[in-house]
């Protein structure tokens, strides 16, 4: 079995990786300084010039970028190459205001696809495999990323995209798919459907690469048993490239970050101070090889831990844990980013108090959102029809704001616990 897609890179010595990072970071900072006035201004405000960045040891001197910066700079403010050199955009599943768009030159697409190819090879993929990609194709990076990686490995690629489960299963059985790429919740759903239809004997899957959603070890076991495969995690974000920023190997104990392309840091989300490896904190990425959309010190808001313990797979790149939470209060529900502040805004507009509780759950492997809100004197009526109408209006306003359906439950006044300081507004029952 071929174990690595780019062995000389994936098993390079830590010193070699550091040398690549030092050299590429210095070059990248210069590139950004020269071509991205938005970031240059941030550097100037902090009193940093490219001359101050001589190696990775100086990385902490650079200012952070956040999602707010990306929105503010939309669409071209962080672009570092002329559009004539760009060949692709991808976009996040943002719901309000401006979306985040990321640009790619052909070089950027290539390096992204290399990262995905490493992930596919790490799960045992070769040119003998049939790679079934059921991530969405389009602005979402899931489909295009794994599709490109699969091509590079030389797999027979099935660009299925998401949905139409009947057709997915038909191709899977008729064409003998061996590697499945999709969200873990869709993998669980497919597994369930295969069991119901008694198709397990006709399935040739051996491995799955599942990402874009948080999932638990229990879910991994369910999927592995249900499909008779090994299930691997993959991590990425559009801002940094897409899936493949990091990926799991056969050890299944964390995801190797492709450090020749992305420098990872863990910071204290409150102070911004860099924390040592092994400490839990917010993950920050600096892309050192991307040309069109080179983000320096981008705060992912994902909380995780980095570890440099040698891995039995032979890869030398640092491993990150599954994200354990967020440093902001963003929820990802059905793959859509939801901020409680958006819900609060709708409630206030509709005449409800900003006292509410969100219940997030996963029913039949699909996320659900319930908004519990206290009835107010102004919204109450002796007529059930009028209350229902108000409730319907609220559901519609939430749908318009969030882009997903939320069940509204009207509860008695003062029934939602008030706490001193920051209110506990979110109950996430998903076993992740």
């Amino acid at each position: 079995m071929k174990r690595y897609y780019q062995p000389e890179i994936e098993t390079a010595s830590p010193e070699q990786i550091r040398a690549w990072q030092d050299e590429r970071l210095v070059k990248q900072v210069k590139h950004v300084w020269d071509n991205v006035p938005y970031y240059r201004k941030k550097m100037e405000e902090k009193g940093v010039t490219p001359e101050d960045i001589k190696s990775v040891a100086d990385l902490h001197k650079l200012p952070f970028l956040t999602k707010d910066d990306l929105r503010e700079a939309y669409p071209y403010g962080l672009l570092a190459k002329p559009l004539s050199e760009c060949v692709r955009i991808q976009s996040t599943s943002g719901t309000t205001g401006k979306r985040v768009v990321a640009f790619y030159t052909q070089h950027d697409v290539d390096l992204w696809e290399d990262c995905c190819a490493r992930a596919i090879t790490a799960v045992g993929g070769t040119n003998e495999d049939v790679c079934h990609v059921s991530y969405g194709y389009g602005l979402f990076t899931g489909g295009p990323g794994l599709n490109g990686g699969s091509h590079k490995v030389g797999c027979l690629t099935l660009p299925m995209s998401s949905g139409n489960t009947e057709r997915q299963l038909q191709f899977m059985t008729d064409l003998g798919s061996t590697i499945l790429c999709c969200t873990p919740s869709y993998a669980a759903y497919l597994s369930e459907t295969i069991r119901e239809k008694g198709l397990r004997d006709q399935i040739k899957l051996k491995a799955g690469i599942f990402g874009a959603e948080a999932w638990s070890e229990n879910m991994r076991r369910d999927i592995e048993e249900g499909l008779g495969i090994k299930a691997y995690d993959i991590y990425g974000l559009t801002e940094i490239s897409g899936p493949g920023v990091s990926f799991e190997c056969e050890e299944q104990t964390g995801m190797h970050i492709n450090e020749d392309h992305f420098i990872a840091e863990i910071i204290d989300p409150n102070t911004g101070e860099v924390l040592p490896d092994g400490t839990k904190g917010e993950l920050v990425f600096t892309s050192i090889t991307k040309e069109a959309f080179p983000l320096l010190r981008y705060r992912t808001r994902d909380i995780c831990v980095l570890t440099r313990k040698p891995c039995s797979c032979g890869r030398t790149h640092v491993k990150m844990s599954k994200p354990m939470g967020r440093s902001d209060d963003m929820l990802i529900i059905k793959g859509v980013n939801v901020f409680p502040s958006q819900i609060e805004q709708v409630l206030l507009e509709q005449g409800y108090a900003a006292n509410y509780q969100l219940i997030v759950d996963r029913v039949n492997h699909s996320d659900t959102l319930e908004v519990q809100v206290e009835m107010t004197a102004d919204n109450f009526s002796d007529s059930l029809a009028k209350i229902s109408e108000m409730e319907k209006k609220l559901v519609e306003a939430l749908k318009a704001m969030l882009g997903i359906y939320a069940k509204v439950t009207l509860v008695a006044p003062k029934s939602i616990a008030r706490s001193e300081g920051k209110a506990v507004r979110i109950i996430d029952k998903r076993k992740i």
Partner: protein, 143 residues
């Protein structure tokens, strides 16, 4: 038209109704009529009580959400067909009934129905035209 109904918001959970009626009982409020409209998640408890203002004060001070609504109470002979006859009149007069329910009280062989309609003035005129006088709260012994 001078009878006031109290409507209280109830969360759909075990014990909510008991808590509310216990609160009124402890304060010596006499219930004369009660009706509940409910959905899967919540309900509206509608009541006619002997002293609406005092009951409302008690409920409000205990954090209830409520509303006072003027309703029409009509006395009917307590015999088969009385309600059907009255509803025929309302129907012919194009009165839109939002909801109705019965009073527990029986006085002088009469049963009493509580009506909430979309157009109170139209109902008053229709009843007057048909020689039906709505029952006043004094007649029902309400404060």
């Amino acid at each position: 038209m001078n009878v006031n109904q109290i409507s209280v918001f109830l969360e759909n959970r075990t014990g909510q109704l008991a808590e509310t009626t216990r609160l009124l009982a402890d304060n010596g409020i006499d219930l004369r009529a009660i009706s509940i409209a409910e959905t899967a998640d919540y309900g509206v408890l509608r009541m006619i009580v002997d002293d609406a203002d005092r009951a409302a004060g008690i409920l409000l001070s205990h954090g209830c959400i409520l509303t006072m609504t003027p309703v029409t109470v009509v006395g009917l002979l307590d015999q088969p067909g009385s309600l059907a006859n009255l509803l025929d009149i309302l129907s012919a007069g194009e009165i839109d009934i939002e909801y109705m329910y019965a009073l527990f009280t029986h006085i002088k062989g009469k049963a009493y129905m509580v009506f909430r309609v979309t157009d109170d003035a139209k109902l008053s005129a229709l009843l007057a035209k048909n020689g039906i006088a709505p029952v006043t709260k004094e007649e029902l012994g309400l404060k």
